[in-house]
C-alpha cells in the first residue's frame, strides 16, 4: 500500500470547549473515534466535512489539500466528496425516501457511482419505504435511509456519526456486515463515531480515543480495544480482536474452525461462510483463565497463553493481557482470582473462551 494518508491538524475554540487535534492516518480502512459525550467527536467530523467555518488548521486527504487556513484555503463541502451520516438525521422532509436517495445519486459523478438507488435501497433494507415521506418513518428507518443516502455518493471519505444508534440488533448486524463488506470492497477511508465497542471491534482498523477536544490515545484496533478499560471505568469494556481464517466448517454441528496466528478457535456458524477471512471479537469479561486445562466443561476453546501485562483497574477488577501467539487476548477477571491463580507477568496460562462468546 502506498502512502495515501489523511492528515489533519484541527484547532477550534468555542466557549469552554477547545479542539486541538493532530492526526495522520492511513487513508484506508475504518478509524473509530471514541470518547465520552461532549468530547468533540461530532466537531471533528464536521471539521473534516468543511462544515465548521471557524476551524483552523490543515486537512489533506491522499495528496489533495482540503483546508489550509494558513494559506487561506478551504475547499467547500460540496467539493470534498465526503459521505456524512449525521448524528441527528438530516433527511429532506419535502420529498420521499426515493427523492432523498435520488438527490445524492444525481449529484454523484458517474465515475464515483457504485450501487444505484434501487440496489442501495435493497442493501440497506429500505426498498419497501422508497415512496414514503420522511415524516412517515420510524427512527430506525430514518437512520437506514441516511446511511443509504451517504453511501450512494461514492465518497472519498466516509464520516459516520453513531449511524447505528437506534437500530435493533438484527438491523445493526445487517448494516455492520454491509459496512464491513464495503470496507473490503472499496478502500474508502471511514471515520466512525460510536459509543458501542462491538461496532468498533467489528469494523475498525484503528481507534482514536478523545477526551475534552484532545487525542489521548490511539492505536490499531486490537491493541486499543485490549486496553480500553485502562482509560475509563470498568464499564468501558476491553475486547480481543482476532483476525482469523476459516479452515474447516462442520455442517452437522454448525461449527467453524478458525485459524489465527495464536492457534485455533471453534466458533458456531450455522451455514458455511461466504468469505474465508473473518474478524472475531471476544469481550475481555468473557475470557477466563486457568493454569491447567479442564476438560469436561462446555467451554470449547482453550488456548495456551503467556501473561503479558496485569493492570489493576480498581479494587475488584484486573485486566490481564495475555499473548496468544501474536494476538492479544485481554481477560477481565477479579483481583481475587488473579491472586488465587497466582498470576504474574510471564506466567504461562490457559485462556478459555466459550465458542458462543466469540462474535
Amino acid at each position: 500500500m502506498n502512502a495515501a494518508r489523511l492528515t489533519c491538524e484541527l484547532r477550534l475554540s468555542r466557549g469552554d470547549f477547545a479542539l486541538d487535534l493532530n492526526l495522520d492516518l492511513a487513508a484506508s480502512g475504518v478509524t473509530a473515534l471514541f470518547g465520552a459525550s461532549g468530547c468533540g467527536k461530532t466537531t471533528v467530523l464536521r471539521s473534516l466535512a468543511g462544515l465548521e467555518p471557524t476551524v483552523k488548521g490543515r486537512v489533506a486527504l491522499d495528496g489533495a489539500t482540503w483546508l489550509d487556513t494558513g494559506n487561506g484555503l478551504s475547499v467547500p463541502t460540496h467539493q470534498r466528496a465526503v459521505g456524512y451520516v449525521f448524528q441527528e438525521s438530516a433527511l429532506f422532509p419535502h420529498t420521499t425516501v426515493r427523492g432523498n436517495l435520488h438527490f445524492a445519486w444525481t449529484r454523484t459523478p458517474a465515475a464515483r457511482r457504485t450501487l444505484d438507488v434501487n440496489a442501495m435501497a435493497d442493501r440497506t433494507a429500505i426498498s419497501h419505504l422508497l415512496d414514503r415521506r420522511i415524516d412517515g418513518l420510524s427512527g430506525g428507518e430514518r437512520q437506514r435511509v441516511a446511511i443509504a443516502r451517504a453511501l450512494l455518493t461514492g465518497p472519498r471519505l466516509l464520516l459516520l456519526d453513531e449511524p447505528l444508534a437506534s437500530l435493533d440488533a438484527a438491523g445493526k448486524a445487517d448494516l455492520l456486515a454491509f459496512l464491513a463488506e464495503l470496507r473490503r470492497e472499496t478502500d474508502v477511508p471511514v471515520v466512525y463515531v460510536t459509543h458501542q465497542v462491538e461496532e468498533v471491534a467489528r469494523l475498525a482498523d484503528h481507534v482514536l480515543l478523545m477526551d475534552a477536544g484532545r487525542l489521548v490515545d490511539r492505536g490499531p484496533v486490537a491493541e486499543m480495544l485490549g486496553r480500553l478499560s485502562l482509560h475509563a471505568s470498568p464499564e468501558q469494556r476491553s475486547l480481543a480482536v482476532i483476525d482469523a481464517t476459516v479452515s474447516a466448517h462442520d455442517p452437522e454441528y454448525g461449527i467453524a474452525r478458525m485459524d489465527f496466528d495464536g492457534g485455533r478457535l471453534e466458533v458456531p456458524l450455522a451455514t458455511p461462510p461466504v468469505t474465508w477471512e473473518a474478524r472475531l471479537c471476544v469481550d475481555a469479561a468473557n475470557v477466563s483463565i486457568t493454569r491447567t486445562r479442564a476438560e469436561d466443561s462446555s467451554i470449547l476453546n482453550r488456548l495456551e497463553a503467556v501473561v503479558e501485562a496485569i493492570d489493576v483497574l480498581d479494587r475488584g477488577h484486573v485486566l490481564v493481557r495475555c499473548r496468544v501467539g501474536e494476538t492479544l487476548v485481554p481477560a477481565l477477571i477479579t483481583r481475587f482470582s488473579a491472586d488465587s491463580l497466582d498470576l504474574a507477568v510471564g506466567s504461562p496460562c490457559v485462556v478459555q473462551i466459550k465458542a458462543v462468546a466469540i462474535t
Partner: protein
C-alpha cells in the same frame, strides 16, 4: 355591466400583477436568500431600507418615482429611455412598492430552514446554487407562496404609485384600481361596485387554489 374599457383595465391589472410578482420573485428570492444568511447591523440596515417604500404615501412615492424615472429624471439624463407612463415603468414602480411584502416573508422563510439540511445537501455534492434551488426553495415553499400572494394582491389594489407613474393610459397603464377610482370620481357608483366585485371574485378564484396548493405541499 362592465364596459370594454373596464375589461381592458382588468387585463392590464392582472398582467401587471403577474409580471410584478414574477419580477419580485426573480429579484427577491436571491436577495432574501443572501440576506437570510447574513448577520449583523449591516443586514439590519438593508432590511430596514427595503421596508422604507412602505412608509411613504403611495402617491408621494409615485411622485418621487416620477421625478426619478420621468423625462427630466436622472435616468433619462444618463440616456436610458424614460420609464414613466409606460407599462415597464409600472412594473418597476410596483416592484419597488411591493418589494417588502415579498422579501420580508422570504427572509423569514429562508431563515427557518434547518441548517442541517443545507449541510447534508453540501455533503451530497450540492454547491451553493444547487442548495438554493434544491433545498432552500422547497423548504421555503410556504413562505414563497405567502410572499407571492401578498405581492400579487397588493399590486392589484395598488393605486397611488400606478396612477402617478403610469398616467392611466388606457390599454397600457390604466389598471382596474384606477378604473374603479374613475368610476367613483364620476359618480358612476354602479360601475365601481361591479368592477370591485369582479376584482374580488377574480382574486378569490386565484387565491383559493393557491392556498389549497400551499397546504397540500405540507403534508
Amino acid at each position: 355591466m362592465l364596459g370594454a374599457a373596464d375589461l381592458q383595465a382588468l387585463g392590464v391589472s392582472l398582467l401587471l400583477a403577474a409580471v410584478t410578482v414574477i419580477g419580485l420573485l426573480a429579484c427577491g428570492l436571491p436577495l432574501a436568500w443572501w440576506l437570510a444568511r447574513r448577520d449583523g447591523t449591516g443586514k439590519a440596515w438593508l432590511e430596514a431600507v427595503i421596508a422604507l417604500p412602505l412608509v411613504l404615501p403611495p402617491t408621494v412615492l409615485g411622485f418621487y418615482l416620477l421625478l426619478l424615472l420621468g423625462k427630466t429624471g436622472p435616468l433619462a439624463a444618463v440616456g436610458l429611455p424614460p420609464l414613466a407612463f409606460s407599462f415597464g415603468g409600472l412594473v418597476v414602480g410596483s416592484m419597488i412598492y411591493s418589494l417588502p411584502f415579498v422579501v420580508q416573508p422570504l427572509i423569514t422563510g429562508f431563515e427557518n430552514i434547518d441548517q442541517r439540511r443545507l449541510d447534508a445537501a453540501a455533503t451530497l455534492g450540492a454547491g451553493p446554487r444547487d442548495r438554493f434551488f434544491s433545498v432552500a426553495l422547497p423548504g421555503a415553499r410556504s413562505a414563497i407562496i405567502t410572499g407571492a400572494v401578498l405581492g400579487f394582491a397588493h399590486t392589484l389594489g395598488e393605486f397611488g404609485v400606478v396612477l402617478m407613474l403610469g398616467g392611466s393610459l388606457p390599454g397600457e397603464t390604466r389598471v382596474a384600481s384606477i378604473a374603479i377610482y374613475q368610476h367613483v370620481e364620476s359618480m358612476d357608483l354602479a360601475s365601481a361596485h361591479a368592477l370591485s366585485a369582479v376584482l374580488v371574485v377574480i382574486s378569490l378564484v386565484l387565491l383559493v387554489p393557491t392556498y389549497i396548493l400551499r397546504r397540500r405541499s405540507r403534508s
